[in-house]
C-alpha cells in the first residue's frame, strides 16, 4: 500500500469519529443567537439598548429588575459587592470578585480557582450607615466556583457565566429599597468598595419622587447624592437606573421622546456616541445632534427589539449584557474562548443545582428566604480581619456568605 493510500485510509477511519457527534441545529442556532445578540448589543451604546428595550414596550423593571449598569470597558474583572448589616459588627460584610480570563478555556476554569489574600482596604471596614441594612437571607445564586476568603468571595468564571449568573432575573419579592447589589466591571476592589459606600445615599423612594417632580437629571442627582460624596461613575449608574425606571413608567407613545431627551443629556454629559454619529454631530449643533440620535435609534430599533427579546418581553439577560458592556469583550477576536456554548454542563446550571438549604430566617425576612430563592446562606459570616483561607476547596467545600438577591438593583 502506498503512502498516499495508507494516509487516505487513516483519514477516512478517523473522520468516522464525527459520526458520534451530537451537534444539531438547535444547539448551533442557540449559539448563534446568543453570541449575535451579544455582538449586536456590543455595538450599541448602553443608553440606546436600554432605550430600545423601553421603546419596545417591555416592562423590564417588572419582569427583571436590572442589576447594575456597567459603563463600558472590557469585562476582565467584576467586583461584586454584597453589603449587609451585621447586627453585631455593622460593617461591610462581603465582597465578591469575579475574575474573567479571556484566554483560558472555559473548562479549565472549573478546576482552577484563585484565592487571593483579603485586600487591606479601609473601606471594607467602614461602618454601614444607619437604615442601610438589607434583609438577611436574601437569596443569591452562586456558581460553585466561589471561594469565600474572609469577607471576600472569589470566583473565576467565563464572562458569559458571570453574566448569566449575575443577570439571572430575580423574580422574588422586591427587597427593601436600601438593599443594593452591584456589579462593576474594571474596578479595583477599593474603587468598588468606595462606590459602594457612597452608594448608601441612594434612596429609590427619593429618586422616584424627584423623577415625578420634573424628571430632570439634576434633581435625580440631588436625590441620589443625599448629602454624600458620589463618584461620577456612581452617579451615572444611578442615573441610568432612574432613566430606565422612568422610561418603563411612561406610556408607549412617550417613551421615544423621553428617550431622546435622555440621550441628549447623555451626549452632553459624556459625549458618548458612536463614531459614525459622532462625525455627524461634530459641530455640536443641537438640531443636527437630535436628528442624528433619532436616526440612530430608528435605524437600530427593530434589531434591538429583536435581540432584546421582542416587543412583549425584554430578555433581561440581553439587556444586562449590554449594560455590562460584555460585548466589548466579545467584540474582540476571542470567539473561541469567549463564546462558549452554555448548556447543561455549564456552571450556570450547576450553580443552581448546588443550592443549599437556608436557615435562620426571621419572620420579617421570610419572603426572601423561602424557596425557590433559597439558595445559599450561612450565619458564619467572617468578620474582616479573620484569617483568610488560601486553600482552594473543591466544589463541595466552598463556603458561602450571606445570600443576596441577584439580578436586582434599585427600586
Amino acid at each position: 500500500m502506498s503512502f498516499e493510500e495508507e494516509l487516505k485510509g487513516s483519514l477516512t477511519r478517523h473522520a468516522a469519529l464525527a459520526e458520534h457527534s451530537v451537534m444539531d441545529w438547535p444547539r448551533v442556532s442557540g449559539h448563534i443567537r446568543r453570541t449575535s445578540r451579544a455582538r449586536t448589543l456590543a455595538s450599541l451604546p448602553l443608553a440606546l439598548a436600554l432605550a430600545a428595550a423601553s421603546v419596545a414596550g417591555a416592562r423590564m423593571i417588572d419582569r427583571a429588575p436590572s442589576s447594575l449598569v456597567a459603563g463600558g470597558g472590557p469585562v476582565d474583572s467584576f467586583v461584586y459587592t454584597v453589603r449587609r448589616q451585621n447586627p453585631e459588627k455593622d460593617r461591610l460584610l462581603a465582597s465578591m470578585r469575579v475574575e474573567v480570563d479571556r484566554s483560558a478555556s472555559y473548562r479549565r476554569f472549573v478546576n482552577e480557582l484563585d484565592v487571593e489574600a483579603l485586600p487591606d482596604l479601609p473601606g471594607l471596614e467602614a461602618p454601614v450607615a444607619a437604615g442601610d441594612a438589607p434583609p438577611s437571607g436574601v437569596p443569591l445564586r452562586m456558581p460553585t466556583e466561589l471561594v469565600v476568603a474572609g469577607d471576600v468571595v472569589y470566583a473565576r468564571v467565563k464572562p458569559e457565566a458571570a453574566i448569566e449568573w449575575i443577570a439571572a432575573p430575580y423574580t422574588g419579592p422586591a427587597p427593601p429599597p436600601h438593599f443594593q447589589v452591584g456589579l462593576e466591571p474594571d474596578h479595583e476592589y477599593g474603587s468598588a468598595a468606595f462606590d459602594w459606600g457612597s452608594h448608601a445615599g441612594f434612596d429609590p423612594a427619593t429618586m422616584r419622587a424627584a423623577l415625578e417632580q420634573d424628571g430632570s437629571l439634576e434633581a435625580l442627582g440631588a436625590a441620589t447624592v443625599d448629602g454624600r460624596a458620589v463618584t461620577k461613575n456612581r452617579f451615572h449608574l444611578d442615573r441610568d437606573r432612574a432613566v430606565e425606571a422612568r422610561l418603563a413608567s411612561l406610556p408607549d407613545d412617550q417613551r421615544l421622546r423621553h428617550l431622546i431627551d435622555f440621550l441628549r443629556h447623555e451626549l452632553d454629559a459624556q459625549q458618548a456616541w458612536p463614531e459614525d454619529a459622532e462625525a455627524e454631530v461634530a459641530e455640536s449643533e443641537e438640531p443636527r445632534r437630535r436628528l442624528a440620535i433619532e436616526a440612530y435609534v430608528a435605524e437600530h430599533l427593530e434589531e434591538l427589539i429583536e435581540v432584546l427579546g421582542g416587543r412583549d418581553y425584554v430578555d433581561p439577560l440581553a439587556a444586562d449584557w449590554t449594560r455590562r458592556a460584555v460585548a466589548e469583550a466579545v467584540g474582540e477576536d476571542y470567539d473561541m474562548d469567549l463564546l462558549v456554548w452554555i448548556d447543561d454542563e455549564d456552571l450556570v446550571w450547576r450553580m443552581v443545582e448546588d443550592r443549599r438549604p437556608l436557615g435562620g430566617c426571621s419572620d420579617a425576612d421570610k419572603d426572601f428566604c423561602e424557596p425557590p430563592w433559597v439558595d445559599i446562606t450561612t450565619t458564619e459570616l467572617v468578620s474582616v480581619g479573620d484569617p483568610v483561607s488560601t486553600a482552594v476547596p473543591d466544589e463541595r467545600s466552598v463556603r458561602y456568605v450571606d445570600s443576596v438577591p441577584t439580578g436586582w438593583m434599585g427600586a
Partner: protein, 181 residues
C-alpha cells in the same frame, strides 16, 4: 471532493414572514443541514478530537452567520472550509501557547486512544504543524486540488506544494523512525 454541491448557498432564504435577521438565520440553517457533517469531519481530522471539532464547526457557522449580514457569499464552500481550517489552526496555536511549547506527541486533544495508538500514520499526521496538517487533510481527504487548497488557506499554490512536500517528508521520517524502534 466533498463540496457543498447542489446546495443553494447564496440565494436568499425562501422564507416569508421573517425578519431580515430571521431570514439570515434560516439561510444559515440550510447551510448547516447540508454541510455541517462534512465540515465536522474536516474539523475532526484537523484537531483529532470530536468536541473540539464541534466547537470549531459551531463557531464556523456563527461566523458564516455574521458574514452573511454583509451580503451574499460568492462561494460558501471554500469560505466555510477556510473558517474551519483557520479556527483549527488558531486552536492549535493556542494550545501550544498554553503548554508553553509544541504540543507533545500523542497529546493532540487526547486523541491518543486505541485507534490513534495503532495508527502510526495518524500519529505522524498529528505531529505536523497545523498548516501542514491542513494541507494533507485537504489534499488526501477532501481531495482538493492544490489550487483549491490554496484558496482555502489563502495562500499560493507554490506554498501549498511546499507544505505538502515538507509534510510528506516529515511523516515519512516519523514513520521510518518508529519502524526502527
Amino acid at each position: 471532493m466533498r463540496v457543498m454541491e447542489g446546495v443553494d448557498l447564496v440565494a436568499p432564504a425562501r422564507v416569508t414572514g421573517l425578519t431580515p435577521a430571521g431570514e439570515r438565520l434560516a439561510r444559515v440553517e440550510a447551510w448547516f443541514q447540508s454541510e455541517h457533517a462534512s465540515l465536522l469531519r474536516l474539523a475532526v481530522l484537523l484537531t483529532g478530537e470530536l468536541h473540539a471539532a464541534e466547537d470549531i464547526v459551531q463557531d464556523a457557522f456563527l461566523r458564516l452567520h455574521r458574514r452573511s449580514k454583509q451580503g451574499p457569499i460568492d462561494d460558501v464552500a471554500p469560505y466555510a472550509r477556510a473558517i474551519v481550517v483557520n479556527l483549527a489552526r488558531t486552536r492549535f496555536r493556542r494550545r501550544q501557547r498554553l503548554q508553553d511549547g509544541p504540543v507533545p506527541e500523542g497529546s493532540i486533544d487526547g486523541h491518543d486512544g486505541a485507534a490513534g495508538d495503532r495508527d502510526e500514520m495518524w500519529r505522524a499526521l498529528m505531529e505536523l504543524s497545523a498548516r501542514q496538517r491542513a494541507v494533507m487533510v485537504l489534499r488526501y481527504y477532501e481531495d482538493l486540488s492544490e489550487q483549491q487548497i490554496a484558496q482555502v488557506l489563502g495562500t499560493s499554490t507554490g506554498a501549498v506544494k511546499k507544505y505538502a512536500d515538507r509534510a510528506r517528508t516529515r511523516m515519512r521520517s516519523l514513520l521510518a523512525e518508529r519502524n526502527r524502534l
